[in-house]
Symmetry: C2
Subunit: 375 residues, 2 copies
Amino acid sequence: MKYRLMAPGPTPIPEEVLTEMAKPIKHHRTPWFEGIVKDVQAGLKWLFQTQNDIIVLASSGSGAMEASIINVCQKDDRILVVNGGKFGERFGKIAKGHGISAELIDVEWGQAVDVNIIKEKLAQNDYRAVCVQASETSTGVGHPIQEIAKLTKDLPGTALIVDGITALGVIDLPVDKWGIDFLIGGSQKALMLPPGLACLSVSEKAWKLIEQSNTPKFYFNLQAERKAVHQNTTAWTPTVSLFVGLKKVLELMQAEGLQEMFTRHQQLADGIRKAALASELKLLAPDAPSNAVTAIYSPDGIDSGKIVKRLRDDFNMTIANGQDHLKGKIFRIGHLGYYDLFDMITVWSAVEKTLADLGHSLQLGQGVAAIMNQL
Amino acid sequence: MKYRLMAPGPTPIPEEVLTEMAKPIKHHRTPWFEGIVKDVQAGLKWLFQTQNDIIVLASSGSGAMEASIINVCQKDDRILVVNGGKFGERFGKIAKGHGISAELIDVEWGQAVDVNIIKEKLAQNDYRAVCVQASETSTGVGHPIQEIAKLTKDLPGTALIVDGITALGVIDLPVDKWGIDFLIGGSQKALMLPPGLACLSVSEKAWKLIEQSNTPKFYFNLQAERKAVHQNTTAWTPTVSLFVGLKKVLELMQAEGLQEMFTRHQQLADGIRKAALASELKLLAPDAPSNAVTAIYSPDGIDSGKIVKRLRDDFNMTIANGQDHLKGKIFRIGHLGYYDLFDMITVWSAVEKTLADLGHSLQLGQGVAAIMNQL
């Protein structure tokens, strides 16, 4: 069997991008690379729907999460963190690693945060930032970013930091319109690139806060990066091949169109959800699903790890298990990036066959037919 | 939708091969290219299961068909051609183009040739060559090469020319064991490359006949190519990037294994045939199917061109219509080369959905389930 990535990242890379990145790379302190930075900057502004400068880092998405917090905060600041999954948790750990006080709003995994709780917290205390996932990869939940942005928009001392790592290019997140201060993306998600590059948009409000920041930092100094971007370069050595790939990816995305991209992801997510229901399975997050990834409960008596393992060993396909207390209980299918409905049919045919072989009662082909009906 | 090639050639190219071919090319009159020719020659001998020299031409497969005939024949020779499809017909046209007399054994499209007829013909007349398709791409028929080779093997003046363009790497055709004098392959088939390169093995018996040939030729002079191969080069400018790709393809094939490759193609062909039957359709060649391509009758009242067009326009997928008198009556699905069972599920889900939309009575998912059962 061919190898197939069906996890919520890394995701498949289009051949046009692979071959672009296979070309010999040139030096990055050259007019050639400056041209690429300029094109990428314009493309990212389009993708982020913003006039903000977009900072591109040679790091994974977690690096950009850390960069956002340590650049916007001062030493004794307090931040508010929506803690409804593995990646919400990570915001808290980053703060802890830097001695920044983080107040966690614990949300049951599979649920979206209640905006009223954030509202109350903001009324009671000063927070330098509100940190939240647009798409919580560990649960497949989409948090209500637009509603949260309404709360932070008019607070000059509070930045909204949105982890859009699995949301960017998947879910409509108009940065300027909604007033998102930081929106973070990662290359190995809907950006259809290998891992190693992160990007984040930073609002004017955020830059003002960054100027006052006194936390220790060097590699992730966003002001140094902003200065570099204005000179069409990067502060430190950039991931040249990923930049080259990103330029190509943005061309492909623009050819598809922004709304068309969101609609396609909606269809992919609908396909997997309908297939799961048609195969007599339950969704972890039926009420607040993210269109990037769907978490599905394994049938009673079947450890979800068995499904993941069978797909890996017999079908050469990677999907994801649950994490922490959901390990063994759910499995997660990624549908963000370079996918179409036929890819959903492919992964579901593997899941359905596996479930049947493991003794789950279903009529083979019924789940797949639910996706075929959407074709 | 992503573009998907599901026709009997060109076929998809593995990413490992695409990226290999994307590297800058070097000059072909160099030790670098001589090394590639040497490696390719060794790999092709393994693939063809022969000690013969393999000639690689910068041409399509039709060029290699022509090269075989004009190199083995003398001006007044007569050849015997199995004429059971578009490509059998082509052997006859090549002979006609060169003023060589071709006797056609007409075989109903969808049937394999009756070996007894060839036996009788060979007893009655002298033929310089017997020309036959191992896999007749227009009908999805596999002709009985082993049986035919038994008839020609001991005739020193008669060469067996086998068009293996869609058979090489798909069907077991042991050149030396069976005594196939010419076996012809084309790059854009199971060789998983872009079009533009043909290869053919030539037996010692054939080389003796070639030495006596007096037909007009220049570009397709196989003796010149043989001399070049012995010097690890080609007579004329080779398709350098395809050679580079071919070296990589042969590595991938050797990693899979020859018998494993034949078994995989058997499974792919079985999958499509079972899906077709489960979707209440009839096969054109149920009795002598080639594992490279399957021809399927369109249901009564549905022009097969509509199916092909719908897959192209709505699903961005290429399958093939019938040719000549079968146009509109059958459609053909290629399953040779870089495919696995999930690709068969993909193409069949598109076909099944299309048939349902066009009014063919079936239960959606039933055909696909027939393939899933094979997983």
